[in-house]
Symmetry: C2
Subunit: 333 residues, 2 copies
């Protein structure tokens, strides 16, 4: 686990979009976002206090999180200066950058000198077991998509937020780098070795209270030929009691695959449920999450009404209209 | 690729079972098995000439393959002596042992001194791409199982053998360590990083002649919760034109999973075909391979007749009765 709370390093982010990770922390774990560190030329602002390193230390910060993508794929000298100063202040560093902190000798040296940890969340740091399929206590919900990048993480995060507001026991379980940085822990599933994928998901969602829900972050799609194996490991390793179908209706083709079309929601429902029942015969499909960001309000509302009538399942865009009805559906099983 | 032909290192194999890899080479690629090297106490015999290292060199051997499992999981001093002598003779070494050749400093030093290569086939040696799903030329057949270890490799090997006898263009494509050592190349799929699994299968089965068949070695099972993600990557990365269903009828439960039962052949057929059609809409299920090793001849014959009548597909045990009818079915599509 990454120690919290965080100082959000925004570097010289050219715009808000480049600071997506920091924004995720601010949105979903505001209690972790004690302050932000901005360098000259930074055009992103998370709306949290700007802090120097000493000030952040005094405010209780434990880790500086690199909340911004780096241009050009390397860690610049100007960033390096701040990162080393942060280590000298005693902060751990956490990063989801492609180029790893651990591959920078000066950062490694400064971390060692100060007894600090470098977290590269793209790389697994645990020797995961092979899945044993043993039934676990507690409940699990998995978001599965007609395609990649259709809002599975957002859906699970929004559901966790709503459930916590209601006093339900709920934990978002991150399986990608952004989710890991936001919540401080998880499994970088796309970087796990094939034989251990399902085992890593079992590890991530262990026995829990009978009334506790894990909201497992989905990855890929059973219908996306590049990544379907990763999705399959979530469906079986996760032993979900509930599936949420996630869909983006305006895609011309599967993401990155011009010759492939998205499956119907009916096909996703039947295929995912059949496979999920191998691991958990009691699994149910409980709702549909539609990403309507490219639709007008009127189009979104009428599209979702049509889907809801056709499928007989609560159908919402949690970003537009909240996750309440999805949580109602979970609470009912 | 591992250079051929081979000298089969049998070490001090206590029995024939310990020399399974060497036996596979002898059975499926006899032309690679120029000779065997046996140490004192060896109780295995592949029926090929015993050779010393110099003699093997003179016979044209390029690689010494460790054809035997090591007791205790470490490379003993007595083995080491032979392995170093082989490197000094100019042979490459190839191994599927859990403990890697490359982790033994004296083997690394001897390999470097002699310009030889150490092949640890459990570990990927290629940076595989992410799968792009582009339709490839040539044809592909994939064996899928109701469970793990039901005879998928044997089925594909036997079909390749029959096809070559008939003058058909056919290549067994190894996805596990034994198959890689037998054929000299392949992908150790269970050790590939999740994001690259399907891409590694695409890499393994590239464009080919229109009348060429890849016989892709299956792994795991879509119904085995520990390994289903690996199977899924084969189903999508392999773009199979034909599926062979593999089954072992006497299992009390799924391998290693006491609480899980095997699916029916009907369920395997429908589930695997539906998923395979995502990558190749023309895919067909063409036959059934039954592993009847734990059944009497009479029971085997009557069981297969019942399955064939029920499923309407040629149903054989290729070990008992040959792969002719499976190849007939492939040739017909």
């Amino acid at each position: 686990m990454i120690k919290t709370p965080y100082l959000l390093f925004l570097g010289d982010a050219p715009d808000a979009l480049a600071a997506k990770v920091a924004q995720g922390i601010k949105d979903w774990r505001p209690e972790f976002a004690v302050g932000q560190y901005r360098m000259e030329g930074c055009n992103a602002d998370m709306g949290v206090p700007d802090m120097g390193l000493a000030e952040a230390k005094a405010a209780g910060v434990k880790t500086m999180v690199i909340g911004v993508a780096n241009r050009g794929g390397f860690i610049t000298d100007s960033w390096k200066e701040v990162l080393i100063a942060a280590l000298n202040e005693g902060f751990d560093l956490a990063s989801g950058l492609h180029n790893l902190l651990r591959d920078e000798p000066d950062l490694v040296a400064a971390a060692e000198a100060n007894g600090c940890t470098l977290h590269d969340v793209r790389v697994p740091s645990v020797d995961y077991p092979i899945a044993n399929g043993v039934k676990r206590k507690g409940k699990r919900c998995l978001a599965v998509g007609t395609d990649c990048s259709v809002g599975k993480m957002y859906t699970a995060m929004a559901m966790e937020g709503t459930m916590r507001e209601r006093g339900m026991k709920a934990t978002f379980r991150a399986t990608g780098q952004t989710g890991i940085l936001v919540t401080g822990g998880g499994v970088p599933l796309d970087a796990v070795i094939a034989d251990f994928m399902a085992g890593s998901v079992e590890w991530l969602t262990p026995d829990n209270d009978d009334d506790h829900w894990d909201l497992i972050e989905g990855q890929g799609s059973l219908f996306h030929v590049s990544y379907s194996g990763v999705t399959m490991a979530l469906v079986h390793g996760g032993q979900p009691d509930a599936l949420i179908l996630c869909h983006e209706p305006t895609r011309a083709h599967m993401r990155g695959l011009p010759d492939y079309q998205q499956p119907s929601l009916e096909d996703l429902r039947d295929t995912a449920l059949h496979l999920a029942k191998v691991g958990n015969p009691a699994c149910q499909v409980v709702g549909i999450s539609v990403n309507t960001q490219h639709m007008s309000e009127a189009d979104a509302v009428s599209y979702m009404a049509e889907v809801e009538a056709r499928m007989g399942l609560p159908t919402v865009d949690p970003f537009r209209h909240g996750a309440e009805r999805l949580v109602d559906a979970l609470a009912a099983i």
